[in-house]
């Protein structure tokens, strides 16, 4: 760590501690966590295997996008794999077959996810609760079967050997560290966008809808528009994460569009802490770490993750970060 970043971290800590008990405690804490997190993320590839950290970042962005919907708008989508995997396929195809540069590939993938988001959202937001979840699940299963049968997706083989290419014609993504910082930049962009959305009037309206939709309507808000916008935003960012993942692993496969992936993102978000900004990042980190480190042990991975989930639901329902935040001083638990 250089002196500069240490100083930044120190200042941030000081500011944060000073304001920890003040009215802006939540924001300051977030800022502190953000700086610390960024520093850790920037140094991570030197301590950990870069591909692993990139995977964590992709899933963290995916989980954050999902959290925007469930944590702040109160909509439980069970079809986010369609956006994640759909964008992965589009990006992979655009880069591999059409020979587009990675930034255009990502853009196309994200646009495809946004389009899917508009379609899904327009149908799904008309219903609430379990019906909303079921509609998103059904629609995402349609995407799964399309991915299974369409020619361009390669069926169960997936799209393989996707070239990483040169970002903006300057950054050679075949270099692991360049790729890493590109992924980090994508993640920070996505995270900042979510942070901004949550702390904007738009985010306030979303929270109002989450707490009491009829009341929001009576105040004159067209809640369906807010919900649709949140849905599309969430879908696009999930797509951005999926497209990035396709570039990192140089493949897009059925795993990404399967309903299990929709479940996994719910798991990450709940484990980390639904409705907190950092929670999904922690949850994604935890799940991906378990998946990759338990892989080399004789423990069955799904059973371990399932057991952790059960413990989490029984003992700390707010999730890891949610529980920590609730127990911090300056906040009523």
């Amino acid at each position: 760590m250089t002196a500069a970043s240490q100083a930044t971290a120190a200042t941030a800590t000081a500011t944060a501690t000073a304001t920890l008990r003040g009215p802006d405690a939540g924001t300051a804490r977030t800022a502190l966590l953000f700086v610390v997190g960024l520093t850790i993320a920037a140094l991570a590839p030197f301590a950990l295997y870069p591909v692993f950290v990139m995977k964590v970042l992709c899933f963290a962005l995916f989980a954050c996008a999902f959290n925007l919907l469930i944590g702040f708008a109160g909509l439980l989508s069970f079809g986010h794999a369609a956006f994640f995997g759909g964008a992965a396929y589009v990006t992979a195809h655009a880069v591999k077959v059409w020979g587009l540069p990675p930034e255009l590939g990502l853009l196309l993938g994200t646009a495809a996810a946004a389009l899917l988001g508009v379609l899904f959202g327009a149908i799904a937001i008309r219903r609430q609760g379990i019906y909303f979840a079921m509609i998103t699940l059904a629609l995402s299963q349609m995407v799964f079967f399309m991915a299974l049968q369409l020619k361009f997706t390669g069926g169960e083989d997936g799209i393989q050997g996707v070239p990483r290419g040169v970002l903006f014609g300057v950054f050679d993504l075949t270099q692991p560290l360049t790729m890493y910082y590109a992924v980090l930049a994508v993640f920070v962009f996505g995270f900042a966008l979510i942070w901004r959305a949550v702390h904007s009037p738009f985010g306030q309206v979303l929270k109002a809808i989450r707490e009491n939709e009829p009341r929001a309507i009576s105040l004159g808000y067209r809640t369906e528009r807010y919900k649709l916008l949140a849905f599309v935003l969430s879908a696009s960012l999930a797509g951005l994460a999926g497209g990035t993942k396709a570039l990192v692993f140089q493949l897009a496969s059925l795993t990404d569009v399967q309903w299990q992936m929709s479940g996994e993102v719910v798991l990450m978000t709940l484990l980390g802490g639904m409705g907190t900004l950092v929670g999904p990042v922690v949850g994604a980190g935890l799940v991906v770490t378990l998946e990759s480190y338990l892989a080399a042990t004789s423990l069955p991975v799904p059973v371990v993750i399932g057991a952790i989930f059960v413990v989490c639901v029984l003992l700390f329902r707010r999730g890891i970060v949610g529980e920590i935040l609730a127990r911090l001083p300056g906040r009523k638990a």
């Binding site: 250089t2 692993f249 140089q250 496969s253 080399a296």
Partner: protein, 400 residues
Amino acid sequence: MRSLLLAGTALLTLTSGAAFAQMSNDVIRIGVLNDRSGIYADLAGEGSAIAARMAAEEFGGKVAGAPIEIVVADHQNKADIAASKAREWVDTGNVDVIADVPNSAAALAVQGITRDKKRIFLMSGPGATALTGAQCSPYGFHWAYDNYAMAAGTGRALYEQGKKNWYFVTADYAFGQSLEEETTKMVNKLGGKIVGSVRHPLGSADFSSFLLQAQGSKADVIGFANAGADATNAVKQAAEFGITQSGQSLAGLLLFITDIHALGLPAAQGLMFTEGFYWNLDDQTRDWSKKFEAKAGKKPTMVQAGVYSAVRHYLKAVDAAKTDDPDKVAAKMRELPVEDMFAKKGKIAANGRMFHDMYLVRVKAPGQSKGPWDYYDVVKTIPAETAFLDPALSGCPLVK
């Protein structure tokens, strides 16, 4: 920050430099990468690791002076986990060889990585013919079986048994369709006939209407162009309809002994399909399988036996070449004949396909079976030359 960056880069160069030296790190490290907790855990899983260890033990745990180490990982049937594990093994774990890798998406991902990074890849678990076709690699060796051998091999062998008319029950996705296509091509080429086919969605629970159509077609053979739970469900329900008793044959186009074990003989009896290995073929296979069973608690599948054979052949090549340089070892592997309990006079073609005899088997009736795992009558040995796709037709750029 800069010094850290420099140190990191230096470290990276150091490790990658060392990896290309003769006998990298004075150890031969073999990574068995497969599904250890999901649907392929029984047919590959820990059994494949046991098989690899048995091969290493035969060499006394050492080859050309270097100790042999086996590491394992669970790819959980996800191509991204397979890819990141394979990369990690190669980049930081000094793994020389990756073995097994069932699930074709995972195997294709690993094939790409091992091709780029010049590591030997011994495929026993996956079936995709692309691995020795358009996606072939000078370092990739496809060992136990492939979808072509299972489909076309069964088509030919059954034709030679006088069963010429086929009806397909096909899983409606690329994999099922390619099984149907390969079989159709073979049957048509030989002069047989396809009287019809029906497509079912992936993950069907109810096959009754498909089976009734198949039964009504009066075809000699009903071919199941599907795998896993779809195949076992279809076989089970066919047994309930009494299809084999009424004179039609059932042919599986991708089944493993573990599927038969799960189905049980009453449901599976009479079913015909192609296998790459059966524990009860001769003294050698019985001997080896007995040792395997002592460790694994069950008889080996063709995938597990294939891992043993492939790892053993790799070690033999290292021993002969006196180096673990991937280019030299790959050349030696192609040069030496594969001779063990799994493959007799096996040969590796230019596209990486290991040619060995396959077997058309018929599942025994419960009364004929003499004990646990005594499941098959070997109807016919399919000679290596006709069992697999001609490398010249594979589309592999390595074949000139």
